[in-house]
């Protein structure tokens, strides 16, 4: 069972890897914003499978943390990209 779960984690990681490299290439910023979301699901799945494979419940905590922070990172990306689209950059204060 443990090696089956690790093999599944391997496949999920591979799918995430290929997806990530494709997303980072994506022609627009909108594509690249999806990278955090991709890792938020793929990385979480791989970690959950690893946690069951090695019987370590603490790894589920890492998956929890990853899910929360990936969501936060996605919001930060969307905010930054839409901020740069709409406003011209703020003038720097003369120092």
């Amino acid at each position: 069972m443990a090696s089956f779960l690790t093999a599944a984690a391997c496949l999920v990681l591979g799918a995430t890897a290929v997806g990530l490299l494709r997303i980072l290439r994506g022609p627009a910023d909108a594509d690249r914003m999806m990278a955090a979301q991709l890792l938020g699901t793929g990385g979480v799945a791989a970690l959950l499978l690893l946690a069951a494979a090695v019987q370590s419940p603490a790894i589920v905590d890492v998956a929890l943390m990853l899910a929360l922070l990936a969501a936060f990172a996605s919001v930060a990306f969307v905010r930054s990209a839409s901020h740069s689209q709409s406003k011209p950059p703020p003038a720097m204060n003369p120092r």
């Binding site: 599944a8 991709l38 699901t41 799945a45 069951a52 689209q85």
Partner: protein, 97 residues
């Protein structure tokens, strides 16, 4: 009993992995940002749900199972809302007729 549970885990995890691979295939082949977003959020979330379902027999009740389901609910919530945000952004950037 444990054999039946093991088979259930194997089936659910395999189905979940299959959906992850399908999601990546969609990412590679779909022509458009919005369709790629679809492939990413729908297929991958379904894959995660099936993986969590398959892992439920393996963890201790109730606290371990509760944590697994919370992770899945969290990813569902954030995934769906982030997908809407990104789609909103794409819509504002390139408005369609």
């Amino acid at each position: 009993m444990t054999l039946a549970l093991d088979i259930f885990t194997a089936l659910a995890v395999s189905a979940g992995t299959f959906f992850f691979l399908a999601g990546t295939l969609g990412l590679l082949r779909f022509p458009d940002t919005l369709t790629r977003l679809h492939a990413l959020t729908k297929a991958d979330n379904l894959g995660l749900g099936l993986v969590v379902l398959g892992l439920l027999p393996l963890v201790e009740w109730p606290f371990g199972a509760f944590k697994l389901i919370s992770v899945w609910l969290l990813v569902q919530l954030s995934g769906s809302i982030v997908a809407q945000l990104i789609a909103d952004f794409v819509q504002r950037e390139e408005p369609r007729a």
